[in-house]
Amino acid sequence: MQKHNLEPENWVEKYGDMLLNYALVRVKERDMARDLVQDTFVTALKSIPTFRGEISEKNWLYLVLKTRILDYYKKKKEVLESDMKKDDEDDNYFNDKGHWLKDKLPNEWTTERMVQSEEFMQILLACKDKLSATQALVFTMKYLDGEEAEDICKELNISASNYWVIVHRAKLQLRQCLEKNWMS
């Protein structure tokens, strides 16, 4: 198998923008995304002796960034725990019988608005940024990293039913935000 090489002198120019965009959809603030990219390059540079050339330089840098992002969320562990408690208590969408509140009833969406334009992506991103830290982390792992529910539960040390409550709440909120800001 071909061994891969590292060329750190070209990293910033070659991968800087790619890594920035990878981080931007995963954390809220652009400054934080940029700092994570910088952090990734610095960490990678120090870790060069451990690089065995089994994956490409690009994938290796992605892997380092992915780990940095998870660490960033784990630092917010206390926030995560209080989020979950709050999620359990509040119910902003259904009444005590579990029926839709009148002003939260889903409306029909027209197919003309169900398009993935760049303009829509901006709205989607803005709606995603309104999710709580926990919801954002679970969404990142589920949709952007394509991880299985079981693995996410293990990684975050949450129960399956807790996981579904988070996904459900996040989806309700995201749907509502899209309907308000894009569909109508």
């Binding site: 750190p8 990293w11 910033v12 120019e13 800087g16 923008d17 920035l20 965009n21 931007l24 959809v25 652009r30 940029r34 990219v37 910088q38 390059f41 610095v42 540079l45 119910d91 969408y93 259904f94 019988k97 579990g98 029926h99 839709w100 009833l105 889903p106 409306n107 029909e108 969406w109 169900m114 993935q116 760049e118 829509f120 992506m121 989607l124 991103l125 995603k128 969404f139 949709y143 952007l144 394509g146 299985e148 529910a149 579904w164 996904v167 459900h168 989806k171 309700l172 995201l174 749907r175 899209l178 309907e179």
Partner: protein, 74 residues
């Protein structure tokens, strides 16, 4: 009949996990009776699809690149 809260939770689970026969029937019956939850199901599946394509097209400024490069040169 299950509530809208339960129905929408089942809709989310359906995308990742297999529902039991009972749950499938409960959901089908609910969606047949409840237009709002049927809409929710269509919209939720669409949101799942677009979330997988979520992306940005940003760039580091020359200044930011310089700062990072300087960090690496130290």
């Amino acid at each position: 009949m299950i509530s809208c809260k339960e129905a929408t939770l089942l809709i989310e689970k359906k995308q990742a996990a297999k529902l039991s026969l009972k749950e499938r029937l409960q959901l089908r019956f609910h969606n047949f009776m409840c237009k709002a939850c049927a809409q929710y199901g269509i919209q939720s599946a669409w949101i799942d699809k677009v979330l997988k394509n979520l992306h940005t097209q940003d760039q580091l400024t020359a200044e930011e690149k310089n700062t990072i490069q300087q960090q690496l040169n130290q």
